[in-house]
Symmetry: C2
Subunit: 295 residues, 2 copies
């Protein structure tokens, strides 16, 4: 698959995801304002990397089915909840995200907290109620989502990130933050696709290892783009990590060192794909996409 084919994949499946995301919320019987706040942030754009990775992992084994979108969208809901809470004044205090006002700037802090809580909880409702999926698979997905999003995972990473802002971090501490704050949910996104497609235990090991490496690629690239990226293209100002005094890979390793590390983890990711029984062409192209992206 060449680069254009990956773009076709992303273009096609991103549209499918975008169409479905609000639908999973519109049918909920709840107060109007709560639903509006949930839908606002779920429709606030973004690259939809996580749900696309779920579908790409499915694609390594079989064609995408309707049920896969439900899981992909549930992952995006958990991601969106984390962004809403992270943007709150008590946390990162951001007024804008992806060029749009953050949830609490539009709906107020109380509703932003509740909309986040609701998105997280609804993701568990979606995953545990997947129609036509056997109970064992639903339980596995639920357990893994809870682990990836919970205190051992994303919430733990966000806690370490907030605490780390007050002082200098070692490379080890920086990697703890990234493994958990972004890596664990990204890892779940990939693993969930493989689980849905009935991947073997042996394959699952490599899928998880791939996802871990890809998470690092994603994060190192993020740090590099924060220094070298085009602020217009990225929809946020560059140098913002630097200005906040955040520890980043370029700051710890120099820019050349960060770029070298990026390539090492990209190679590791591809290495794990080679060991798979499936045909992970899109997962492989995702490594290139993550390495070369400009926003």
């Amino acid at each position: 698959m060449n680069h254009n084919e990956l773009e076709t994949f992303i273009g096609q499946f991103r549209d499918e995801i975008e169409q479905r995301l609000p639908r999973f919320l519109e049918s909920i019987d709840c107060p109007d304002t709560l639903k509006k706040a949930m839908v606002y942030s779920i429709q606030a754009g973004g690259k939809r990397v996580r749900p696309l990775l779920t579908l790409a992992a499915v694609k390594a084994y079989r064609d995408v089915k309707e049920i896969d979108y439900t899981v992909a969208c549930a992952v995006e809901m958990v991601h969106t909840y984390s962004l809403i809470h992270d943007d709150l004044p008590a946390m990162d205090d951001d007024d804008y995200r992806r060029g749009k006002l953050t949830n609490h700037k539009v709906f107020g802090e109380a509703l932003a907290i509740l909309a986040g809580d609701a998105l997280l909880t609804h993701a568990f409702a979606m995953i545990s109620s997947l129609p036509g999926v056997d109970d064992r698979t639903k339980i596995t997905l639920t357990q893994e989502l809870a682990h990836a999003a919970g205190p051992q995972g994303m919430v733990g990473g966000q806690t370490a990130d907030i605490e780390g802002e007050r002082r200098d971090l070692s490379l080890q501490e920086l990697e703890y933050i990234h493994h958990h704050k972004t890596g664990d949910l990204l890892g779940f996104a990939v693993a969930a696709g493989a689980i849905l497609a009935g991947s073997s235990p042996e394959d699952m090991k490599h899928i998880r290892a791939y996802a871990k490496e890809l998470g690092l690629v994603f994060q190192i690239k993020d740090d590099i783009l924060d220094v070298e990226g085009d602020s217009l293209e990225m929809g946020k100002s560059t140098g913002s990590d630097e200005n906040k005094g955040k520890v980043t890979y370029p700051r710890l390793l120099t820019m050349a060192g960060a770029k070298e590390k990026l390539m090492v983890h990209a190679d590791n990711a591809k290495e794990h794909l080679r060991a798979l029984s499936g045909t992970p062409l899109i997962l492989e192209d995702f490594v290139h996409y993550m390495t070369e992206r400009t926003k």
Copy 2:
């Protein structure tokens, strides 16, 4: 069972619950401060009504087993998460709960939000990983917890409550808030015990109806105590709803009307218990306990 026996039941099982609650958190591999914030609020006391109801519902069918405590404690974690978020400055802005500083007053707002998020997510990890329980039961419990705690349930009720503070409410709106803000999780607590004990579908209908009536009893009594209760005994100042301009049952129905309504729902709750195949002595005594409690 007379009143003393119920007190014995509560005394015995509350201790068992208190002992286990922090244990389910201490084994989590996460940043220390996050764990401390979670443990602080889970140990901040309270009547433990919800986990006790889970065990009481189990008791209608069989003796309590270790696994039942896990579910009971998971319910208390979801309840505790909701209290931490409700107390935040953006919500009810409370400095004290049960005579202790609220979570954000001790750990700061960011950590309070994250501790709430973590408790909610960890409850799903606990419920979906119950050892020795079949997958169907775990899936049912996960689905019902997500429904009770999510936008159709507790989060929806809390949203309506916050919106209702700005204006006068009808009895119908007040009941919407109570059904969802407190009733749904209370209902899950009872239903979960019956599900664990393998209650029949016919019994489940009555168990759910009982829980709904009991939730109203609980809430009407709360409103009555806010006017007539002893503030020292309750650990919070009485008249606080009145001072906040909150719509309450005594305000909507007069105090005599509220007390009459309390008895109607208490009778309805007992009526549903009579239709059960199990021996719901403790569930019945809970109705008296809820009706007559002084704090």
